[in-house]
């Protein structure tokens, strides 16, 4: 008998629900996990505020403006972590041989790794990011926050999540090739959020270029935040002299292109894995 075909989006939801249900069996543990993620990130935010107790501006950005930047990157990263954890946690599975299990199922490998983890407790980080944005909103001197601003924000956070997610996919591809490469990959994923938490003016030119052209972190929140705040950006620093608004609007294209590249690299890495067995 031939099994009926499988509808992948429905299967994803089913697997994600099952995973959350599994975690919810230990309800207190699950809530503590959310709290833990929230508190851990709160410390980072508090550190930021302490810093602004000493200085009025950082690279020309006020505390409220940096809070917006920080909040946006946290929310994007939280979404990417919730959905991309399967790629991020791949290294131990490759090492133990559990990854082989994926290859004996009649489903696309990318889908299976994507669907292998959904981490609802990352909402802790998302809420922390939202708190920072709420704090940024309290600044009367900044944005008027009309509907268009909120739309831009939501759009930017989603785009940023795609960019971080694609970075996780690249990390997974890396894990298929280099068994002990987890540390190096963390530099790009977690290091990336840290970098994206501060105005790019603070960093040297090579880092700024890398964050624009190699790992497009600037498109996660920096360009959209410039556009939201109505800032023009530092003179001569924006690519091709484009305005922040145009850069912010091109972010989805950049994100999708980056994701496309990541998926191609992923597919090639799976093929290479099947060829070498690492």
């Amino acid at each position: 008998m031939t099994p009926s075909s499988v509808f992948l989006p429905a299967l994803y939801v089913r697997l994600a629900v099952a995973r959350v249900r599994g975690q919810m069996r230990y309800r207190v543990g699950f809530l503590l996990m959310i709290l833990g993620v929230f508190v851990a990130n709160a410390f980072e935010f508090v550190a930021l505020l302490v810093l602004f107790g000493q200085v009025k501006v950082l690279g020309g950005w006020s505390a409220h403006e940096v809070a917006l930047l920080w909040g946006m990157s946290q929310m994007s990263f939280a979404i990417a972590e919730a959905f991309g954890r399967g790629f991020e946690g791949l290294a131990p599975q490759v090492r133990s041989g559990e990854f082989d299990q994926v290859l004996v199922r009649p489903l696309p490998v990318f889908f299976q790794v994507f669907a292998s983890a959904f981490e609802a407790h990352r909402i802790g980080r998302f809420l922390q990011g939202a708190t920072a944005v709420w704090y940024a909103r309290s600044d009367p001197a900044s944005i008027p926050w009309q509907a268009s601003h909120w739309t831009t924000l939501i759009f930017a956070v989603t785009t940023g999540a795609v960019i971080f997610f694609a970075t996780f996919v690249l990390g997974g591809a890396w894990a298929l090739r280099v068994v002990d490469g987890q540390e190096l990959m963390n530099t790009f994923t977690y290091g990336g959020t840290t970098l994206a938490s501060y105005p790019l003016e603070l960093f040297s030119d090579p880092i700024r270029r890398a964050a624009t052209w190699i790992l497009p972190l600037a498109f996660v929140n920096y360009f959209p935040a410039l556009a939201l705040l109505g800032r023009v950006g530092p003179p001569g620093m924006l690519p091709f002299g484009l305005t922040p608004i145009i850069l912010a609007m091109s972010a989805p294209v950049v994100a999708m292109t980056y994701l496309g590249v990541a998926v191609v690299v992923w597919d090639r890495s799976v093929m290479r894995y099947q060829g070498t067995g690492t």
């Binding site: 499988v6 697997l15 099952a18 995973r19 082989d100 099947q274």
Partner: protein, 343 residues
Amino acid sequence: MIAVEELRKAFRVTTRRTGGFSAIRALLPGATSYVEAVRNVSFTINGGEMVAVLGPNGAGKSTTIKMLTGILVPDAGTATILGLVPWQSRRAVAKRIGVVFGQRTQLWWDLPLSDSLDLVRHMYGVPTQRFAENLATCRELLELDPFLDRPVRQLSLGQRMRGDLAAALIHDPEILFLDEPTIGLDLVVKARIRDALRHLNETRGVTVLLTTHDLADVARLCQRVLLIDHGRVVHDGGLEALRTRFGSGCTLVVDLADPSTPGQAPSAKGDETDQRNDGPMVVPGAIEIRAEGNRHWLAFDRREVSASDLIAAVASRYPLSDLTLEEPDIETVIASLYASRTE
């Protein structure tokens, strides 16, 4: 059903740099060498057969299974599973085969077994009615009921293995690939799993290919054995044929009527502790490997001297009171085969 021809697979091994700055130098390309895991494997398996793949660790069993299930692509050679090339039609083959790796689980750690089986059902798109029937069969065959609603993390190894086997059967596979399905299990669970496999083979005609280190698995299940060593098939046939071919070393146990060995002075009052002063028995074609009181163990190779000739030779030289011929059991044969490869 399964046709394998001259399959080859080598792995590249990078030798780790040691010494000063090894952590940094590990990032640099090291000296690479190739290890041939599978050198030349060919065999054909017909539908409904149950075949055991035996061989020492590192002989190439698992690598062969990985190529047949589409996990790895070989360097050379061909293989077809149900008419398909597994590494080219991975998903189409996966729909029609079941795979269990004894050392790992495919179940969801946090979920009850029943939920895991339900998820597997959706991954394979098994229709509701068919799932209900297969689940009922598995529950009976593998006695899943006592732990069906328990999270997988709380299951014993034997329960987990039965759950894994059930998960591999939900989609009516035509071929089962089992990599050490009974490893670490107690006798009762082993028997339960063997019964289930034989039942599936007899009632549904499921073809089974399993690797194992447990010869009881082979004796109870498989009419045919593929012995793989150094990446090659060194034996393809029955378990008994394996003994005939590799187990030619036998032992003749003789009880002498007179405790003293001829040619030696009889020991004082036959005191047991003095027996070791006696020299070994001397018979052409055999070597004494052990002596205890009147009893002597003589090892010989059947290809060099027949048992009847040896007995005649012993009888002509020594007064006998009793004798028995010990054939090697299959475990000993395999163990000596495995031992010989370590040089």
